[in-house]
């Protein structure tokens, strides 16, 4: 360690206290729920969506982004193995489409708190997670109530999810609200990459997914998936496209043995 760095550290410790500088640890460990979509499991995340954390599917901009289809695909996948809850704050759920995605409707509970009732929807989701619901998806609508009305409910939901080790995925339109960005452990930004056409018909939507935030690894990974719509005699599916895949960045190794982070302590 250079003298100037040691002096700077000593100054910080004397000014803000010895706890102001702490040794940084490795990225937080969390169990993973595999989605069975290789691009999602291997490229964008480490083994799947994190358990006990809040995952956010955020739209990149206005217009269709594929986040709700992706969320419903994940709900359908989860319903095949255990109970799932779908909080429909967007008011756009078609259970028939959920069935087309291959969902086991017997395992799906649909919660409809009403439009713009974010607080109520989050409270209901928290109650179900606390009761043992292992997987919950929340579709937020375009009309966003004031964050002060629902941020406490979101914090309580995140706490319940962490306590029960549940999987919680929230789909939000752009721009994602600040409390949501804060509560998220993994944020995947969904940007439309064009319609997939076959024989002149639209057969799906290509979506570019980017890991905008990750408390479990390094952000920045990108991949493109195809949300293929249901066809006659075939369920809808999520396919990884052979596009240019940007691997996750490797964590930067700081050549300082005992100091990698500065806490938010204030004098």
């Amino acid at each position: 360690m250079s003298d100037s760095l040691s002096a700077a550290l000593a100054t910080l410790r004397s000014r803000y206290g010895p706890q102001a500088l702490r040794r940084g640890g490795s990225p937080e460990e969390a169990g993973a729920w595999p989605t069975a979509v290789p691009v999602l499991d291997d490229v964008l995340t480490s083994g799947g969506l994190p358990r006990g954390r809040v995952t956010v599917l955020a739209a990149a901009g206005r217009g269709p982004s594929g986040r709700l289809t992706l969320l419903q695909s994940l709900v359908a996948l989860a319903s095949r193995s255990h109970g799932t809850g779908y909080v429909d704050l967007a008011g756009s759920l078609d259970p028939g489409f959920l069935a087309d995605l291959g969902a086991d409707l017997d395992a799906c509970l649909v919660i409809s708190p009403g439009p713009e009732r974010w607080e109520r929807g989050l409270v209901m989701a928290r109650s179900l997670v606390s009761a043992g619901m292992p997987w919950v998806g929340i579709a937020l609508g375009w009309e966003q109530p004031r964050p002060g009305l629902w941020e406490h409910a979101l914090a309580a939901l995140a706490e319940a999810v962490a306590k029960r080790g549940a999987v919680c995925v929230i789909a939000t339109p752009a721009p994602a609200a600040a409390p949501l960005r804060h509560a998220s452990s993994l944020t995947l930004v969904c940007a439309p990459a064009g319609w997939q056409r076959a024989n002149g018909d639209v057969s799906g939507l290509r979506v570019r997914l980017t890991t905008a935030k990750s408390k479990l690894g390094a952000p920045g990974a990108e991949a493109t998936v195809l949300l293929r719509y249901p066809r006659p005699y075939a369920a809808a599916e999520v396919l990884g496209l052979p596009s240019v895949v940007v691997p996750r960045l490797q964590p930067v190794v700081v050549p300082v043995p005992d100091v990698v982070g500065v806490s938010a302590a204030r004098g």
Partner: protein
């Protein structure tokens, strides 16, 4: 399974005649004053003989029978009578159901006190007659639907028993309008030239299903007396309450808080000892020289101990503004259920987490509305419209009676 169905006059009519014994034998119409735009709920035999029908407007009933006496519904009297009927039936039957005009009891198996089913049914009918003080028509059969029709075919003071295997023969000559299905289905059956249940029963289930979808299979089972429906016992509503009489009426908030806290603590300890949680909490203030005021609510999480119950009661206190000094406070809990996630869950059959989720969904429906938590189900006969591809249903635990 063997089901007993006892048909009796409407409990409201019996309660009214007990209250006004001088009206026995007179034309009595139950529903309220004829000026009200309400339907006739029940009518005595004399009123029905004068042309009064159940469901017709009260004003029209008055025109049919100008000499009739109109009495209002007495919900408290009906509840008292229903409880008495249930208690009497429970003496001799393990599962009972009491409606306004019918009561059901389970006669499956054998009863040690009676040599056969007929004696058992007679004892039940005698007990009911003693409670209600009217003659009762009784039917006994292998299913709810057939037992109900047997009771209709019986006469007051008589028992009509349909032996096992004779259901189809009993049902065969009955007209189609006894079927508990949509009248449009009955009309369509009649359009096919089917005029009795026997004709419907002679058709194959595939033919009926082709014409009526899932209703067709139900029709087939009903017409053959194989509906399999049993008794739907009302869930026992346990209500616990704790009342504290204050030393002198007071309006002091601190005193009221202490009183409510004491009641909540006592109840909470009792809940914890029984490993139960309350689905609904109520707080009431009994006022000096005024009617009591009360409020109730469904808490976010069902309280199961003193601390949780006190928190729930405290949340309700803000809604109570006593206009006069309070003489006593009362805290009540109802809709008691096993506390999910506690040790007692290990002793319950089934998947505890699933049951807890369903119980939570039920509580959320109570709190936020019936349409807030539902489960979609694909329709068997979807038709052309996208919204007909699925139906909504209330989630229940498989095998539960809820």
């Amino acid at each position: 399974m063997r089901v007993l169905c006892a048909r009796h006059p409407h409990l409201g009519l019996i309660a009214a005649l007990r209250r006004y014994p001088e009206l026995r034998g007179e034309p009595v119409i139950l529903g309220g004053a004829p000026e009200l735009r309400l339907p006739v709920v029940a009518a005595s035999a004399a009123a029905q003989a004068a042309g009064v029908c159940i469901g017709q407007p009260l004003r029209q009933a008055q025109q049919c029978c100008p000499a009739a006496v109109f009495v209002p519904l007495d919900p408290a009297g009906i509840d008292t009578l229903r409880a008495a009927v249930c208690t009497e039936l429970h003496r001799l039957s393990p599962t009972v159901e009491a409606g306004d005009e019918e009561a059901f009891g389970d006669l499956s198996g054998r009863h040690a006190e009676f040599p056969d089913e007929a004696a058992w049914a007679s004892a039940l009918a005698r007990g009911l007659r003693g409670v209600l003080d009217v003659e009762i028509a009784v039917g006994v059969a292998g299913s709810r639907f057939v037992a109900r029709l047997a009771a209709r075919a019986s006469h007051p003071g008589r028992i009509r028993r349909i032996r096992t295997g004779d259901e189809a023969r009993f049902l065969a000559p009955l007209p189609l309008d006894v079927l508990p299905v949509d009248p449009a289905v009955t009309a369509r059956l009649a359009a096919f030239g089917l005029d009795c249940l026997g004709a419907v029963a002679s058709l194959g289930p595939a033919d009926l299903q082709r014409q009526f979808g899932s209703d067709g299979l139900r029709l087939h089972r009903l017409a053959r007396g194989e509906d399999g429906a049993g008794i739907l016992p009302a869930p026992a509503q346990r209500v616990w309450s704790e009342r504290l009489v204050l030393e002198g009426a007071t309006g002091d908030l601190e005193t009221l808080l202490r009183g409510v806290r004491q009641c909540a603590t006592t109840l909470g300890v009792r809940l914890a000892a029984e490993t139960l949680a309350a689905g609904e909490v109520s707080v009431a203030f009994e006022l000096e020289e005024a009617a009591a005021i009360s409020t109730s609510g469904v808490p976010a999480a069902p309280p199961g101990n003193a601390g949780e119950l006190w928190t729930a009661a405290l949340g309700l206190l803000g809604e109570l503004q006593p206009p006069a000094p309070v003489a006593a406070v009362r805290v009540g809990v109802t809709r008691l259920a096993p506390a999910a996630g506690r040790q007692a869950d290990l002793l319950r059959p089934g998947d505890g987490a699933r049951e807890a989720v369903v119980a939570t969904a039920e509580r959320l429906r109570s709190r936020f509305g019936a349409a807030t938590v539902r489960r979609p189900r694909l329709a068997l006969d979807p038709g052309d419209l996208p919204e007909r591809r699925f139906t909504w249903e209330v989630p229940v635990v498989a095998g539960s009676t809820r």
